[in-house]
């Protein structure tokens, strides 16, 4: 007779446990970087370039030094004497810390001031005089490769032009053959506009170098503290064991807080020079104009189609604009991230992808913003091409997708770009979505409405995406493999602490990792405390981004809990005086198989680990696991959006948003749903209003919240979420696949497809995001596609 605990009661898997982290946040007792004050702390502000491309003729900081309260003014040449004017990036390029010869984008860091308070530091920044000599500006890939284009990276030996890389994958010859056999070729050219993760909290650091101990402690808004420690050791040439990176509470990351930013480096140097803590908190303008942006990539895509709708081949050419430095955090083997995961959900015989990256006079970046390493681009391009192809064939959008899906019985399935998919129920997800939105009925209403001049539209986006990077054979960042880790210590009273190499920024790890431990060991979740973010105490990990935490760190939590359970089993055998073979486990308890009433709880085992060990056993009940994921995980999503477009104004309203997410086992359904809704909102934002653009002089439009538009509660639609379809991941210890970015990846195409669908019959095949009212109106009124980012002011 079982005396197992009720997993729901103790907060195990599948429980919508209320969040542990909420207790401090709702009281205003969060501990974000700017909340921290250290004794003797000084404040740093950065002076930024107003010009996008200019030679620096001189910098005169003498008036800044004279301002009372100023302790240090750092300029590029001061950094250069310490070999710190340039630093390596996570993509094997170099990036300026403070400009020396030239500024290469508007907003680039030119100098910084450290003063008693930030008001004074700002006064001093204003007193620094910089003499610039403007240079011609490049703001897109076409200009970057045009004849006679100035070389932006003339600091690099052997850089004769503005091209960063060429990269290709797939079977060019096989794809060409597929196109020769096609009945229909569908072509689409898209621009995924430049966007920015823009968490509400900006980036910042407090660097604290202690001369007495030679230890450097840096509090930093970082999603990957161990990567930062390695980078600081490299850049600042300080010994790694004397560097401590602490990531306190983070007010949103979304990939913005992975790269190493010049502000961090300057604050560290300043602290070393001044031997006092130095705090740098950027403002929103600094964040938007200089930190890791996202997207800004052009597609020329083609699909080879058979008349009945079977996709024979896909060919894609992508041009990625990386800004002034190639600084993306992404697996080093793939120059364009995991863009080649595109079309993974469909059974396609042949495909070829070519990508080129170029420099421009804009802030550096490209891979960020809930993108799973460019998978946002992959799936947006995919679903927009699918939409266009179905229209070109005259086929129903749902039927076209269904017939091309990888079928349930085809797993494992290798994509033409080499990815191995292991599981999924794609058609079922689509069916659930179509039913939820009332597909047949909607199409009828759409027809009736059109007859009356009202424009209703429906957009589908279905995709599977690669999460949980990644296996050590293929994935590394700067050579460091992308495993992750968990350390679990069970104390003598059966309470526990788990630390991982991940770093939550709102995803709820303090709640969910405890649930995994609860599931594996039967210790109530409330008895398990979770810590992350301090490199002195957390086991080495590669941080939280690209939705990799549940797949990798979460797996490590399960694995370390199993190591603990294995040792506890031996302790149980010892306590029960039987051999291990006679021991059975049920949640929270070991018992004797032949006498089930004889058992010991996990807590009793824990106590025994400190007080009653068998001979030869090391005391204690603590362990660490490092998890090298065998493969990526492949959640699947079907997003369906319906809209109505006002033909007189181009304004469109969302009627319904249905989301069917199959992310395998859900640790905490409430948290999973929160992630999906957040992602859908970002999808809606990108589709409707969010963008950064530049004028011909490289002036950035979108460097503050007046121009970079985030939707409020008023514009944001409601969401209908479905969790009926659960296909556990076959290789993940608890069958979970990860979810953090799915809706941001798959969502935008659903919104755009819906508006394009509302315009069907006008011949409009594409409106590039953002689908602002004026762009929709123009497309509708003139029956033409709208390509590229919104234009900037012209005199009329």
């Amino acid at each position: 007779m079982t005396q197992a605990l009720d997993e729901i009661k103790i907060g195990g898997l599948g429980v919508s446990r209320k969040r542990v982290e909420d207790d401090r946040f709702i009281r205003g007792k969060g501990n974000y970087t700017d909340d921290i004050t250290l004794p003797g702390m000084l404040h740093m502000e950065i002076l930024r370039s107003p010009l996008a491309h200019a030679r620096i003729k001189s910098i005169d900081a003498s008036r800044a030094w004279d301002i009372p309260g100023v302790h240090l003014v750092l300029t590029g040449d001061m950094m250069a004497t310490r070999n710190l004017a340039w630093m390596p990036t996570l993509s094997y390029d170099t990036q300026a810390v403070l400009a020396t010869d030239k500024v290469r984008f508007q907003g680039q860091e030119v100098a910084c001031v450290i003063a008693d308070d930030p008001y004074i530091a700002k006064d001093a920044c204003e007193a620094i005089e910089v003499d610039y000599e403007p240079l011609p500006v490049i703001v897109n890939p076409k200009q970057a490769v045009a004849e006679g284009a100035p070389v932006i990276r003339d600091d690099k030996e052997n850089q004769a032009d503005n091209v960063i890389y060429h990269w290709e994958v797939g079977d060019a010859a096989g794809t060409d053959r597929a196109f020769e056999q096609a009945d229909v070729i569908s072509r689409l050219q898209l621009h995924y506009p430049r966007s920015h993760p823009s968490p509400i909290e900006c980036c910042g650091s407090i660097a604290d170098f202690n001369r007495a101990t030679s230890k450097l402690t840096v509090y930093m808004t970082t999603q990957a503290p161990h990567i930062i420690r390695a980078a600081v050791a490299l850049v600042a040439e300080l010994p790694e064991h004397m560097i401590r990176i602490i990531s306190p509470d983070i007010g949103g990351g979304f990939g913005n807080k992975v790269p190493v930013y010049p502000g961090y480096v300057c604050s560290i140097l300043a602290s070393i020079l001044l031997e006092r803590p130095v705090k740098w908190i950027e403002d929103k303008t600094g964040n938007l104009i200089s930190t890791g942006f996202a997207r800004d990539i052009y597609l020329d895509g083609e699909m080879a189609l058979r008349q009945d709708g079977k996709i024979l081949g896909v060919r894609m050419r992508c041009d990625a604009d990386h800004g002034a430095f190639f600084s993306d955090a992404q697996p080093s083997k793939f120059k364009i991230g995991l863009l080649h995961s595109t079309f993974a959900a469909y059974d396609i015989p042949a495909a070829h992808l070519r990508a080129r990256g170029t420099y421009s006079n804009k802030a550096p970046g490209g891979v960020a913003y809930r993108c799973s390493f460019r998978v946002t681009e992959a799936m947006f391009f995919q679903e927009r091409m699918m939409q266009a192809a179905a229209d070109d064939l005259g086929m129903d959008q749902a039927a076209f997708r269904r017939m091309n899906f990888v079928r349930d019985e085809d797993f494992p399935h290798r994509t033409p770009f080499g990815f191995l998919l292991d599981s999924g129920q794609y058609r079922k997800c689509l069916d659930v979505g179509l039913k939820a939105v009332g597909y047949e009925d909607f199409r009828k209403r759409q027809e009736e409405a059109r007859a009356k001049g009202r424009l209703l539209g429906l957009g589908i986006s279905t995709m599977t995406e690669p999460l949980g990077a990644g296996n050590s054979r293929e994935y590394d960042i700067l050579g460091i493999k992308m495993f992750d880790s968990a350390e679990l210590k069970v104390h003598m009273t059966g309470k526990a602490i788990v630390r991982t190499g991940a770093r939550t920024q709102g995803q709820g790890h303090e709640t969910t990792w405890a649930q995994i431990v609860s599931h594996e060991l039967g210790i109530p979740a409330e008895d398990v405390v979770v810590e992350e973010g301090d490199t002195d105490t957390a086991p080495f990990g590669m941080g939280t981004y690209a939705s990799r935490s549940t797949p990798v760190a979460g797996a490590a939590v399960a694995m370390v809990a199993r190591k603990i359970r294995a040792k506890a089993r031996r302790l149980a055998a010892h306590l029960l005086e039987v051999s291990e073979e006679d021991i059975e486990w049920e949640l929270g308890r070991f018992y004797v198989r032949s006498a089930p009433d004889r058992g010991v709880t996990i807590q009793e085992c824990a106590m025994a680990a400190y007080s009653n060990m068998p001979d030869g056993m090391e005391p204690g009940l603590e362990n660490t696991a490092y998890y090298d994921p065998p493969n990526l995980t492949w959640p699947f999503a079907c997003y369906i959006v319906t809209v109505e477009v006002d033909p007189a104004t181009g304004v469109w309203d969302v009627l319904t948003t249905v989301a069917v997410d199959d992310c395998g086992v859900r640790i905490n359904p409430m948290i999973v749903e929160g992630q999906i809704m957040g992602g859908l909102t970002e999808a809606y934002a990108m589709a409707s209003m969010q963008f950064i653009t530049f004028d011909a002089e490289g002036n950035c439009i979108g460097s503050n919240y007046m121009d970079y538009l985030l939707p409020t509660a008023w514009e944001t639609p409601g969401f209908e979420l479905h969790s009926e379809v659960v296909t556990p991941c076959p290789h993940h210890p608890i069958g979970a696949k990860g979810i953090g970015e799915c809706a941001a990846v798959g969502g935008p195409a659903a919104f755009v497809n819906a508006v394009i669908d509302a315009l069907s019959g006008t011949g409009v095949r594409n409106i590039d995001m953002p689908l602002l009212p004026d762009r929709v109106w123009e497309a509708l009124t003139y029956r033409r596609d709208i390509s590229g980012a919104p234009p900037v002011a012209t005199d009329d």
Partner: protein, 190 residues
């Protein structure tokens, strides 16, 4: 707070700037402060008073993370000068609990409970501002619709939640406050 200047002799006080003395109430406690006119209210709250629950997220008065109450009305504290609260009352998120049932200290306001119940926060950065804005709504309208809530919060940005659970959190709090109206036996204040 002690302010220390360098003494350069000859009566020169390096770094001294004219300050203004202000008196105000913060979360029910009366205070006096000496501040530069240019000091923003949000910095008085965060740095001068050490109440870091009020956050700063932008530089153009858009995000609302800095929302506090001045004389019971929600205000973006980054867009007020500290000197302007002379003679006024400020309430921050740290004072929210005091206004809940049971008096000062650890008892949460129903809004705080609601945000936890309905998963209305993820990173927590916008949350204090959201709650202060929501409180103003509930003070005026104890039975708001979803639309009322979305309208009232349209000056506060969130990047994590998609707002749907924030709306549910506020409606949860409204329902709890209504059930706790002065007519109920425990006599708790809404």
């Amino acid at each position: 707070m002690t302010v220390v200047y360098d003494d350069l002799g000859d009566g020169v006080e390096e770094g001294a700037v004219p300050v203004r003395r202000i008196r105000f109430t913060i979360n029910g406690r009366k205070k006096i402060a000496e501040v530069e006119p240019r000091l923003l209210l949000s910095h008085l709250i965060r740095r001068g008073l050490g109440l870091t629950g009020t956050h700063m997220g932008c530089d153009t008065t858009n995000c609302g993370a800095c929302t506090v109450q001045v004389d019971g009305k929600p205000v973006k504290s980054c867009t007020m000068l500290a000197v302007q609260v002379d003679g006024h009352e400020i309430t921050t998120v740290e004072g929210l609990a005091m206004q809940g049932a049971g008096g000062p200290g650890g008892v949460l306001h129903p809004l705080q409970e609601g945000f936890k119940e309905e998963h209305g926060l993820q990173c927590g950065f916008c949350t204090p501002g959201m709650m202060m804005a929501a409180k103003a709504l509930l003070d005026e309208n104890p039975d708001p619709t979803e639309e009322d809530v979305r309208w009232a919060l349209s000056g506060n940005l969130c990047r994590c939640t998609g707002y749907q659970n924030i709306v549910k959190s506020v409606l949860w709090a409204a329902a709890k406050l209504r059930s706790q109206s002065p007519d109920t036996p425990d006599g708790s204040q809404p």
